[in-house]
Symmetry: C2
Subunit: 222 residues, 2 copies
């Protein structure tokens, strides 16, 4: 007799954190509905990586949705006229408000994911917010997670819960767990700039390199 | 010397509640950035009405954004194969979970509005949630308003506040206020079905008629 597994929606950007999150959800026994967003990011190459990660993990479904945030502006991630800075060049102010922050992106994408989950009768969403991201992004914090769940819990028809397994975990520890779970990080993409190879100096590249170094592993992209 | 007025983003569906909300925001001295959504609703005629309301009110800007919720399904409002029921035919269960509910629509559209507001440096959003809607929609309640504001208040860069002036007001009282403020309800659209004239029997039409009757006014669409 076939017993169908519970399903979970996973936000899959194609980066290191979301790929690892997907493998965590899978290891917990969920069938995966992966969801990615073409939101106008200059590093749209990450979507190809998302597809590769999804295939490698054998997800049940992978959808890529269009949500054009470029029209709103306000971020170096969606506006190619702005410069994605080197981490080393960020001042104290920018560390708490980085130019790569996209206005309200994460709440928006989680709202879409919750709509998608609800329409399909799925109760669980996995989100790759990462402790290290807390330096600058209000929408990657434990407080944010708690309050968005308080909001979604009001849904009388179908409460949906957002899980963020790494919201309070160091990136190096997340990486070690991902390697144990079989994530192939050659399929992931981290660089914020739109180039063909990782720039190694944007905040995202620097954090990735530091995590691999601390975990004493080699980055397959390096 | 020109002193620029503060700005507010108003969610404008083209219905009675959002039109009245827009006039309330205007009466409070805000310049209005109206935002409407083509989300796959079968009653897309309401968007023409939204444009008419926006023009009549002399808003500073009106944008119509595409967010395709039809792809998700799960609602009689976005799926023309489903029937929009008569209010009289709704059972007790359906009153707390009407078939016209769209999965997580309001949180999603408010998230987009908050992204739009933040990108433009606007701190205030007006949302036409209405007390009467509470019978079936979890996302039109005072609790929902309180919790979404608790979430948005975490934004370190620019906290945005959602105002819903009618969340605890009877529809007839809202209507009287709107008439005092000069709303021309001939420009608004309420019917959930996709017909050329109001059906007068869907829940939305019945509630509108009841409000005009109670306010002792004539509905220009009737």
């Amino acid at each position: 007799m076939l017993i169908s597994k519970p399903k979970a929606v996973v936000l899959l950007s194609g980066g290191l954190d979301s790929a690892t999150t997907l493998y965590v959800a899978r290891s917990q026994g969920f069938d995966i509905y992966a969801i990615s967003f073409r939101y106008g990011q200059r590093h749209a190459y990450e979507l190809e990586c998302a597809s590769r990660v999804a295939r490698a993990a054998g997800v049940a479904r992978h959808v890529i949705l269009d949500v054009n945030l470029r029209a709103f502006g306000g971020s170096a991630l969606t506006d190619s006229a702005r410069v994605v800075p080197r981490l080393a060049d960020l001042g104290a102010d920018e560390l708490t408000q980085p130019p790569t922050y996209v206005p309200n992106r994460n709440m928006l994408l989680l709202s879409v994911a919750a709509a998608y989950a609800e329409a399909r009768g799925v109760c669980d969403i996995f989100y790759g917010a990462q402790q290290q991201d807390r330096y600058g992004y209000w929408d990657c914090t434990p407080d944010f997670l708690e309050r968005i769940n308080a909001l979604l819990a009001l849904n009388r028809r179908q409460p949906v819960t957002v899980h963020a397994p790494f919201v309070a975990l160091r990136k190096a520890d997340e990486l070690k767990l991902g390697l144990e779970l079989g994530v192939d990080y050659a399929h992931t993409w981290t660089c914020y700039r739109g180039g063909e190879t990782p720039c190694r100096e944007c905040p995202s590249c620097v954090e990735r390199a530091a995590a691999f170094r601390e975990a004493d592993r080699n980055d397959p992209l390096a």
